[in-house]
Symmetry: none
Subunit: 208 residues, 4 copies
């Protein structure tokens, strides 16, 4: 209940050593819990506890649980999108850039998968909230699509259905993250996994 120490905001606001705004503390806690347990199972009390404050404080910052969930998703999708864009904007062959993205996401703990979240939260969210989440998801996908389109224009790869390719790519990455019932993955290391996934993807889309 005293996990954050209130410090005076002296100089650079973006710096590291100081306290996060309460709103962000809540978002962080919510992200952690929602992604572990889903929307319905996590109570606002759980989030408040995890964030080191009371339920009423959470409601001071977010109107409803659904709104908080939407913000969580949109914010997470935004962060993933930014990371992808950052990696893809480096000046390297597409294959290598995709490899880097793959590695990055094999190591991330949170999956891309919105579908499960959508299903279980749908009936508790407003249409606006659902729409906002879907748009955030599509923008995330489009960060990959754009790379395919650009590479196609630059004749680096043949012209393909970029949307379909982007979704297929993400789907294959998720396969790489799949844990079998004995807890192991299909390949031993992230590098090996990425190599296999990208091999399939590349041949599948760009092979003749």
């Amino acid at each position: 209940m005293a996990e954050q120490k209130q410090g005076r905001t002296l100089g650079r606001p973006k710096s590291k050593g100081k306290t996060l705004p309460t709103r962000d503390v809540i978002l962080q806690a919510a992200t952690r819990l929602f992604f572990e347990n889903g929307f319905q199972k996590v109570s606002v009390d759980d989030i408040a506890s995890e964030a080191g404050m009371t339920k009423a404080t959470v409601y001071y910052y977010f109107d409803t649980k659904a709104e908080l969930f939407k913000e969580t998703i949109v914010s997470l999708m935004g962060r993933i999108r930014e990371r992808i864009i950052q990696i893809l904007s480096i000046d390297k062959p597409l294959y290598e850039r995709l490899f880097d993205v793959t590695i990055a996401h094999l190591q991330a703990t949170t999956s891309f998968d919105l579908d499960g979240f959508m299903r279980e939260s749908r009936s508790s969210l407003s249409d606006e909230q659902i729409q906002a989440m879907k748009i955030a998801e599509e923008k995330m996908y489009s960060s990959i699509e754009d790379a395919f389109i650009a590479a196609g224009k630059a004749k680096e790869i043949p012209s393909i259905n970029a949307k379909f390719a982007a979704h297929s790519y993400i789907a294959l990455v998720k396969v790489g993250n799949y844990k079998q019932s004995d807890g192991t993955r299909f390949f031993a290391t992230a590098e090996e996994t990425a190599t296999n996934i990208l091999n399939v993807f590349w041949k599948g889309f760009f092979g003749k």
Copy 2:
């Protein structure tokens, strides 16, 4: 998804041939609701209403909501597995058999994806229940793996990592079922979708 094949009353009819046993009526209703709304959001009352009986009757047949959920999943996975096996056992080239499976599942309403369900139900299920669901899932996947292994042995295809291939195949089929925010899919018809998916999969795994 043709949940029950009524009418084939060859042997002694179990009950008086009139209706489905209550237990199956419950399972049907539960399957429908769970797959639309997830585990947490669906109440046992909802299931009872959908099945046209009272909550207490549901509890007469299933000890807990979690147990009913597990049975639902296991039974569904079993039905999917059986259908896959049935299609794959026809005497045709592997490509054509896979094409048929793909078409069949593009037309099915229920997705294969257990992950979302797992996350949101995990903390409400016993270890045994989780294990039973995972095993049912793996047996479903193995119905495809086995076809790859058999075709590999018969030199119809090169030898591959069958588990990884099966999961990749299912992942790509799910991409085919993805609905964009405007409600449309990536391709106009099931045949076109199946052709594109299989094209990617086949080149990805068996292309040189």
Copy 3:
């Protein structure tokens, strides 16, 4: 569910080696469970299980749970009363007969105490049922009163308030059965306990 073997009733019906009538099997099971857990906590299903049959069978023999409970109590009180009468009818000094009764009940597992049962079951029983239980209890007490009255008439003891004495006697015997929080009783053996209890009772009522 097959704990009792249906035997043909050949000769003496009261003999030992044969099966109890179903009604008595139920009463036995009910007695055991009610006295361990009270009226409310024991379900008719529990009793049926303990008796090796189904709930519906219990209802075949007893109209309601309350009726079964009443029968249980009345029957138990009757058995206790009979045992007391039997011991008290032996031709010995009153002190010695009381000593024997005391010993007998220190070794019995079931307490005499109806009060607790009354409180928790009262609102679930009909007036007739409550009355029947109270009368059974009073008849049990009167088996002791009668001995005091007879001994008074025979000048073996002074004349006393027999009802008050009988209740006081039973109350003291219950003290002898009291288990402290470490599980021990006040005295080491039943004989020692009985001696102390009777000493207090005898001096208290017949001392000058």
Copy 4:
């Protein structure tokens, strides 16, 4: 039983002096209902109604029904103990002090008897809760034991088994509270009852 002594606002009033804290209101209502109907029969809804609030408010103050029950018992035992101590600490002969205690408890509505409550609630309480109740009960008894021990040391009475005596004393007081099936008690007035009870107890333990 004079559950609360309102008005004696000598120090700083805890709240705004207006009403009892909600927690105490709940405890009062619970005490009343539990002692009339037992643990199982009283629902949390009943308690909430009696206390003039909603069920959820009760759960805001007490984690479970079992916890509330335990608190009820512990608190009641504490109040009884305090009253006994208060009466026994007056400078009078032991007989007279015991007489006052007897009169006080013959007029109280609630019995001392924990046994019945224990049996019917046992399986719903945690070990800690059961232990807490037993300890509260023993401390209540010890308030009487201590008086016997002190009087023994002061040579006012012979040295006796104080624990056994305390339990016997309480058992006899309960006899004084016993209502026969026609609703009457053994003696007409509280004074007459107390005289008879104490006469038996005193001769029983201190008579030669």
